[in-house]
Amino acid sequence: MPKSIKFKTNWDYSPAPESTSHIRLKKKYELFINGKFILPIENKYFETINPANEEVIAEVALASKKDIDKAVQSAKNAYEKVWSKISPQEKGKYIFRIARMIQERAREFAVVESLNGGKPIRESRDIDIPLAANHFFYYAGWADKLKYAFPNKSPKSIGVCGQIIPWNFPLLMAAWKIAPALACGNTVVLKPAETTPLTAMLLAEIIQESELPDGVVNIVNGGGETGAEIVKHKNVDKIAFTGSTEVGKIIQTIIADTNKKLTLELGGKAAQIVFDDAPIDQAVEGIINGIFFNQGHVCCAGSRLYVQESIYEIFIRKLIDRMETLIVGNPLDKNTDIGAINSKPQLDKINYYLKIGQTEGAEIFQTNCAIPKKGYWCKPTLFLHTSQSHRIIQEEIFGPVLAVQTFRTIDEAIEKANNTPYGLSAGIWTDKGSKIFHLAKKLRAGVIWANTFNKFDPSSPFGGYKESGFGREGGIHGLTSYLNL
């Protein structure tokens, strides 16, 4: 084979930093309870940093058991005395206001999201923030239309919802939780992830400015202990959790002898299947986005690749070509494709798996990109020649690491794709329509992307099979878990 393409060129992209001078961030954030920012009872705070340079951005109040009590009580009061008495259409109008205000402050949100979480500004600006605003818009419209979503039923709200969200899409996850909960007439106590509290705090400011009645949404910060207090609290009627399968199982056990409603959105190890009749260059792009979008910190990331053996060589070459053009670096640079890993523990976990993969005998490939000295970074990585029994094929790594295998027949691909306790998503790449529908029928996953990947829309239900969780977020189906039908 002739020599390869040289992606290192004399023409480099100069730094193109997003301006941060216009954002308004406080040095300290208190708990948002009952419509106000109040001091934590035990006067405990924790620091939140920028993972790209490890610098402290702000201090955030840590909610103790007593603070959670207060928050739940204010949510309960607001539910019984205020929110349930407001007409559905008026409820919708509050949610429309929140959506609009997010749009108006979109750039600020995007910058803070990248600063606090490490994701590239291009992603927070073009994907996270617009999707979050759109989610509020979509559900705002359902508030006064619930009877149409469930004909012959009289949908009723549940009460107080305890919601715990992860660090990979902080604002978007807050939107996915709060919007449907409010539209269905419930009130909320939300706990953002420990490493990414800031955009939720800005959202709390917007909630204040929207004049949403006090206590309808409460936002409290903390770690696993704070989350446990919310889950255990007797006045929380419904729990919504997005995070690791491990913690999801713990929550399921904790509330086993209660009547609390529960939805879980957990981990995944999605398979992407590429057939030899796929639109190949677009499939390459889809695989790249599937695993390197958001540094691979995505529950539905396409972290396993099954390529039909006949096109293996050319496909891997193109995959590597594309990886050579990915820029790892400062999340606030507009040209950055892969940002910082969210935290030191997460980086350690990824590196742990990189070691295991090599020990297990898979062939590792990483590009020769430059990475900054400070901060948490991982180069985009391929593991070639893996097999089903490798730990890097079975276990969720949650980083920019793709494990690759070949397959020969359709049935083999289906079997291998389903051979996992997870079932969140899957990708199918082929030009043949009937093959797409056949595979869509056979793959045991809650979201199937055909000739595309990582596509989200407020109207499109999202959620998993098996240990990836239960319940759906988005669309009409996303309403069911916030209603008593």
Partner: protein, 298 residues
């Protein structure tokens, strides 16, 4: 026989749109902007292909090609001027002491609706008048009717006449039904002897788009991987401002890399682009927004 990617034409348009959007979201600033703009300038084929062209018009175009904006030092020249066969000798005369090439269209440009006999004669005329490069059109009618061998034979015939003179094959992407068809035509053209593949005549809408160009660049890459041959690419028409030109360069860099970032292998078929690039270069140097009044036309 091994799987041959040159037999694979399936393209997903939405996927192409998404890849193009990524190129367009690249932010090219300061030093890279100036370097990129100068590179783009050096890749322009300054073009006049009007029914109303005269010797005088062509002379003025050639002068502009040689003196883009004398007020600014260290500017590259454009790569070539592109004219009808009847104007080749006059362009050659004006440009005789420069490195600027004279490209001539041929083969019943722009429609391609003529007999093989006539397009052969026209090519011989262009070559005889001294053209350094020939831009031919394919027979879109024949291609859409599935007569691929006919189209291939025409290209081979014209290439034979050109000999060492480099041949660009215009696909007229705006008339080809789908991206799949553009890939097919690209591969067919390269297999038939094209030195460059070119998007369009610039005479119909749409002319060049980033989507068409991306599909063709990826076809060139596959051809290179399969055969080792290095083919050039020219998007023509529809690239009227610097921002767009820089996005094309991003696309070129991230698809074909360093070896193709040269006027030897990449050209812009454009007329208004040059002045827009000059305005941007002066703005980068001086710091204030410019006006077309300060840059010579033609």
């Amino acid at each position: 026989m091994k799987f041959n990617i040159l037999n694979q034409f399936a393209i997903d348009k939405i996927g192409v749109d998404e890849r193009v959007a990524r190129f367009s979201s690249r932010s090219i600033k300061s030093k890279s902007k100036v370097e990129g703009l100068k590179l783009a300038l050096s890749m322009i084929d300054l073009t006049t292909l009007e029914g109303s062209d005269t010797i005088g018009k062509v002379r003025q175009l050639c002068f502009k090609a040689m003196h883009l904006h004398d007020a600014m030092a260290n500017l590259p020249t454009v790569a070539a001027v592109c004219v009808y066969p009847a104007m080749v000798r006059y362009a050659k005369h004006e440009l005789k002491n420069t490195n600027i090439k004279v490209a001539s269209v041929a083969t019943a440009f722009p429609s391609g609706q003529s007999s093989t006999k006539i397009i052969i004669e026209e090519t011989k005329l262009a070559v005889g008048e001294g053209a350094d490069e020939v831009d031919m059109v394919i027979s879109r009618g024949k291609f859409l009717a599935g007569e691929y061998e006919f189209v291939s034979d025409e290209i081979k015939t014209i290439k034979d006449i050109c000999g060492k003179i480099h041949l660009k094959v215009i696909l007229e992407t705006g008339e080809l039904d789908s991206l799949d068809m553009i890939r097919h035509a690209s591969i067919l053209a390269m297999q038939s002897g094209a030195d460059f593949i070119k998007t369009s005549t610039g005479k119909i809408q749409p002319a060049s788009t980033m989507q068409f160009t991306l599909v063709m660049l990826e076809a060139i890459r596959d051809y290179f991987y399969s055969t080792g041959k290095i083919i050039g690419m020219k998007p023509a028409g529809g690239i009227s401002n610097s921002k767009t030109a820089l996005q094309y360069l991003v696309m070129l860099k991230e698809t074909l890399g360093e070896d193709w970032m040269t006027p030897k292998l990449f050209r812009f078929g454009a007329s208004r682009l040059a002045n827009d690039i000059l305005m941007q270069l002066v703005k980068e140097e001086k710091g204030n927004y410019q006006s077309l009044d300060y840059f010579s036309k033609d």
